[in-house]
C-alpha cells in the first residue's frame, strides 16, 4: 500500500545485464506486477525474466496493415475505374498488377505508422508527453551504460521500505524515489513549440518546392533536359524550312486510311455504303473501338452521358430519331469530318474500324429501341424466356 500520493515509484540501477535479469526475476517472484526494466539495449531473455506475456501489438499492426490494403485497393478502383477512367497502355481500367506495388507500400506504411503512433500514444499517454521518469538521473543512466528497474507505487504490494530493502538485497548500486510531476502541463501545446512546428512545416514545404521546381533545373542537374532530339512542335535547324515535324510526301496514303471522297462537305450529297456485315466478330471489334474513341464523349451506350465532367460539351444521344435515320454512310461522314464541336476522327481510325464502329452503334440503337418482335427473336435464338 502506498501512503504517499505523490510517489511514482522506486528506481534502482545495476551494472550488468546479468544482474538486471536476476533482479527482474526476483522482483517478479516477489509478486510485484507494476514494474518495468530500462536498459540501454534490448537484453535477451528479459521478457521471460519479467514474466511478460506475448505482446498483442502484432494484431494491432495486422489490423491497420489490412486496412491499408483495403483502403488503397478501393481508392485505386474508384479513381482508376469509376471517377476518372483512362486507358493506360492498353490495360484494363482495373489493372490489378499495376496496383500491387502501391498496395504493398500502403499496407506496410499504415501498419508501421499506426503501430508507432499507437505505441507512443499508449506509452506517453498523449497529448501529454510527460513521464515521471523523464529528465531524471535514472533515465540518463539507463540510456547510457546502466541497467535500471523501477517498481511503481501503483502496485498493490508496494511499500516503500520493503521495496527499497528488496532492491538493496538484489545488489542495486543506486536507489532513488521518483515523484509524480506536480502540475499536469502539456508541452506539446506550448506557444513556442507550436510556432516551431509551423516553421518546420513552412521550411519543409518551401524547401521541397524550391528543390523540385528551381534547383533541379539549375546547371548540373538539368543535363537530362538537354537532348539532341526532335521535340514535337519545336523548330529544327536540320531542315531548311526549320520545321521539326515533317509532313509526308504529297500523295502518300497510309495503310488502312483510304482517302474519303466527300471530305469537307457539310451536307454530303452522296455517302458510302457499309461494306461490313454485322457479324459477331465485327461487332466485338467495333465495340472495342467505340469504347476507345467514342465513349469518352458519347458514353458507353451512346446515351450522350460523357465521362468528361463538363470539360467538353456533351454530345446528343445517338438514340434520337435523327441519329437513327442517318445512313451508315452519314455516320461515316461525321467520323471523318467531325460535326460542329465534334472533332474529326479521320487520323485516329482506319476505314475498317469506322465501319465496325457504325455497326456497333446500330446494335446499340436497336437494343435501346427494341420492339416486342425483337424479343421474340431473342427468345427463339437463345431458347429462353426473356421478359
Amino acid at each position: 500500500m502506498n501512503e504517499n500520493k505523490n510517489l511514482y515509484g522506486v528506481t534502482a540501477l545495476f551494472d550488468s545485464a546479468n544482474e538486471i535479469i536476476h533482479a527482474a526475476k526476483e522482483v517478479e517472484k516477489a509478486g510485484y506486477k507494476n514494474f518495468d526494466v530500462n536498459t540501454p539495449y534490448p537484453v535477451h531473455g528479459m521478457d521471460r525474466a519479467m514474466g511478460l506475456k506475448r505482446s498483442t501489438v502484432g494484431f494491432f499492426t495486422l489490423f491497420f496493415g489490412f486496412s491499408g490494403t483495403a483502403f488503397i485497393l478501393l481508392f485505386a478502383y474508384w479513381t482508376m475505374s469509376v471517377n476518372y477512367p483512362m486507358v493506360i497502355g492498353g490495360k484494363p481500367f482495373f489493372a490489378l498488377p499495376s496496383f500491387i506495388p502501391v498496395t504493398f507500400e500502403t499496407t506496410v506504411l499504415l501498419g508501421g505508422i499506426a503501430t508507432v503512433v499507437g505505441i507512443l500514444a499508449v506509452f506517453f499517454n498523449l497529448p501529454s508527453n510527460n513521464h515521471p521518469l523523464h529528465d531524471t538521473d535514472y533515465m540518463c543512466s539507463v540510456s547510457n551504460d546502466k541497467y535500471g528497474i523501477v517498481i511503481e507505487a501503483e502496485d498493490p504490494k508496494f511499500n516503500e521500505n520493503e521495496v527499497t530493502e528488496l532492491l538493496k538485497r538484489l545488489g542495486a548500486k543506486k536507489i532513488h524515489t521518483v515523484m509524480n510531476p506536480g502540475k499536469e502541463s502539456f508541452p506539446i501545446f506550448e506557444g513556442r513549440f507550436v510556432v516551431f512546428l509551423i516553421l518546420v512545416v513552412l521550411v519543409v514545404c518551401g524547401g521541397t518546392y524550391f528543390t523540385l521546381n528551381k534547383v533541379l533545373y539549375l546547371e548540373p542537374f538539368d543535363w537530362m533536359l538537354e537532348q539532341d532530339k526532335l521535340i514535337p512542335q519545336e523548330k529544327s535547324t536540320i531542315f531548311t524550312d526549320n520545321k521539326g515535324m515533317r509532313t509526308t510526301i504529297e500523295g502518300t496514303v497510309a495503310r488502312g486510311y483510304l482517302p474519303y471522297p466527300f471530305k469537307g462537305q457539310t451536307i454530303p450529297t452522296e455517302t458510302l455504303a457499309n461494306p461490313l456485315l454485322p457479324t459477331k466478330k465485327v461487332l466485338e471489334f467495333g465495340k472495342g473501338k467505340f469504347l476507345t474513341f467514342c465513349s469518352p464523349c458519347h458514353g458507353n451506350y451512346a446515351d450522350g452521358d460523357s465521362r468528361l465532367h463538363g470539360q467538353f460539351p456533351n454530345p446528343p444521344t445517338l438514340h434520337s430519331a435523327r441519329a437513327r435515320e442517318f445512313g451508315d454512310g452519314m455516320i461515316y461522314h461525321i467520323i471523318v469530318n467531325g460535326q460542329n464541336t465534334m472533332p474529326s476522327y479521320e487520323t485516329q481510325t482506319t476505314s475498317e474500324e469506322r465501319w465496325a464502329i457504325i455497326n456497333y452503334i446500330r446494335a446499340l440503337q436497336r437494343a435501346k429501341n427494341a420492339k416486342p418482335t425483337d424479343l421474340q427473336e431473342v427468345q427463339k435464338e437463345l431458347g429462353v424466356n426473356v421478359k
Binding site: P42, H44, G45, M46, D47, R48, L52, R54, G58, L62, G89, G90, K91, P97, S98, I100, P101
Partner: protein, 395 residues
C-alpha cells in the same frame, strides 16, 4: 568435455532410414532408366526438374552455412551440420548432370545447328549458348562449388576434435569469397539450365528468382530435419522455441522474398507487354498451365505467408514440419513450372515419369544425409559459437 556442455551424445540414425533412402533411390533409378528408353525426351525434361531440385537444395544449404559464418550468427550453430550434410550432394552434381549433358539435344533448342542457322536471335546468342562453352561452365561452376563445400566442411569437421578457433576465422574468409561467387555462379546456372530452355526469352531477374526459391527450399529442408531430429533426441535438447521461431521467420522472409521477385519479374513483363518477353508467361497461361500458375501463386506465396505469419505457427513443431514439407513440394512445383511448359508448349501433358524422378532424388538426399550423419557429429561440438547458440534466447 565439449560434448557434455552441449548435452550431445552421438547416436546412430535408425537403420531403416538408410533402407528407405536406398529403396527410393533404386525405384527412381530403375523406373527412370526404363522411362528413358520409353520416352527419352520427356524423361530428360522430367529428370532436369529433379536435378535442379538437387542443385537448389545443395547450393542453398551451402549458402546458409556460409551465411552463418559471414554474419557471425550463433543461433544456428547447433544445427549447422544439417545444412552441411544437405550440401554434401554438391560434389556429386557433376555425375548426376551427365545424363542431361548427353541429352542436351533433346533439352536445348539452341544446340541444334540447323535451327541456329535460320535464327538471327540465336546466332546473336551463339557465343554464349553453345555446347562446348556450356559444358565448360558446368564443369567450372560445379567444380568451384565442390571446392568450397570441401573446404568449409573440412574446417568445420576439423574443429570437432581440435576445437581450434582459427578454423572459424578461416571459414569466415572462405565464406566471404564464396558468397559473391555464389551470386554469379547461381545466376549462370539458372540461366544455363532453366532460362535457356527457351533461348529466345530473357529476364534479368531470373537468377534472383532461382536463388530465392533455392534458399527457401533449403531452409525448409533444414527446418524439417532439425524438428525431426530434435524430437527423436538426436540433437541437443536445448534447441528451443526461439530457434524454431528464427527458422520459421527465415522461411517467412524468403516466402515474401520469392513473392517480391516473382511479382517483379511478372509485372515488368506484363506492363511493357513486349511480344518477345510476354510470350513466356502466355505459354504458362494456356493449355492447363494456367492452373499451375494459379496454384503456384497460392501455394508458393499466399498460403505459406498466412501459415507462417503468427508466432505460434513458427514455434509449433507439428506446423513447422507440415509447412516445411509443403515448401519442399511447392519448390519442386516451381521448378516444374519453369521447365515443363518448354516441352509441352501447347498445353500440359500428364506423364508418370514426373513422379519417378523426385522419388529417386529424395532417396538420394536421404542416403547422402544418412552417410554423413553416420560419419560425423550432428552438432559441431568444437565450434566456439556452440555455447552461445545453445543459450540463444530472443526476447
Amino acid at each position: 568435455m565439449l560434448n557434455k556442455e552441449s548435452g550431445y551424445v552421438k547416436k546412430e540414425l535408425p537403420g531403416n532410414i538408410a533402407k528407405i533412402g536406398t529403396v527410393f533411390f533404386a525405384v527412381g533409378l530403375i523406373l527412370g532408366t526404363a522411362g528413358y528408353f520409353i520416352e527419352p525426351v520427356r524423361a530428360s525434361f522430367s529428370y532436369l526438374v529433379a536435378f535442379m531440385f538437387l542443385v537448389s537444395v545443395g547450393i542453398g544449404s551451402l549458402f546458409l552455412v556460409a551465411l552463418e559464418y559471414l554474419a557471425g550468427a550463433d543461433w544456428s550453430t547447433p544445427f549447422r551440420r544439417v545444412s552441411e550434410f544437405l550440401s554434401s550432394s554438391i560434389p556429386l552434381l557433376i555425375i548426376f548432370a551427365l545424363p542431361l549433358i548427353f541429352n542436351m539435344n533433346s533439352l536445348f533448342h539452341w544446340t541444334h545447328t540447323e535451327a541456329v542457322a535460320e535464327d538471327a536471335v540465336l546466332q546473336g546468342k551463339a557465343p554464349y549458348l553453345n555446347s562446348s562453352f556450356f559444358i565448360i561452365r558446368v564443369v567450372v561452376i560445379f567444380g568451384l562449388w565442390s571446392l568450397f563445400y570441401y573446404l568449409l566442411s573440412k574446417n568445420s569437421r576439423g574443429q570437432d576434435s581440435t576445437g581450434d578457433q582459427r578454423l572459424t576465422k578461416r571459414n569466415i574468409v572462405l565464406s566471404g569469397i564464396f558468397i559473391p561467387l555464389f551470386a554469379i555462379t547461381a545466376t549462370v546456372t539458372s540461366v544455363d539450365w532453366l532460362m535457356s530452355l527457351e533461348p529466345h526469352w530473357f529476364s534479368t531477374i531470373f537468377g534472383v528468382y532461382f536463388f530465392s526459391g533455392s534458399v527457401w527450399a533449403s531452409l525448409a529442408a533444414l527446418t524439417l530435419i532439425v524438428v525431426l531430429l530434435k524430437e527423436k533426441g538426436y540433437l541437443s535438447q536445448r534447441i528451443n522455441n526461439d530457434h524454431y521461431y528464427s527458422l520459421g521467420t527465415l522461411m517467412f522472409a524468403f516466402t515474401c522474398f520469392w513473392g517480391y521477385i516473382a511479382f517483379s519479374q511478372y509485372m515488368l513483363i506484363w506492363y511493357a507487354d513486349l511480344p518477345e518477353e510476354s510470350f513466356w508467361f502466355l505459354q504458362r497461361w494456356t493449355g492447363g498451365w494456367e492452373y499451375f500458375s494459379i496454384v503456384l501463386i497460392l501455394a508458393h506465396f499466399i498460403i505459406p505467408f498466412g501459415a507462417l505469419l503468427s508466432y505460434p505457427a513458427k514455434t509449433n513443431p507439428r506446423r513447422l514440419k507440415f509447412i516445411s514439407v509443403w515448401i519442399l513440394c511447392t519448390h519442386y512445383l516451381d521448378l516444374y513450372w519453369l521447365t515443363m511448359p518448354n516441352l509441352n508448349v501447347s498445353g500440359f501433358v500428364f506423364s508418370w515419369l514426373d513422379f519417378v524422378f523426385p522419388i529417386g532424388i529424395l532417396g538420394l538426399i536421404i542416403l547422402i544425409f544418412n552417410i554423413n550423419a553416420k560419419k560425423y557429429n550432428l552438432i559441431p561440438v568444437g565450434d566456439p559459437k556452440l555455447q552461445r547458440g545453445l543459450d540463444f534466447t530472443l526476447h
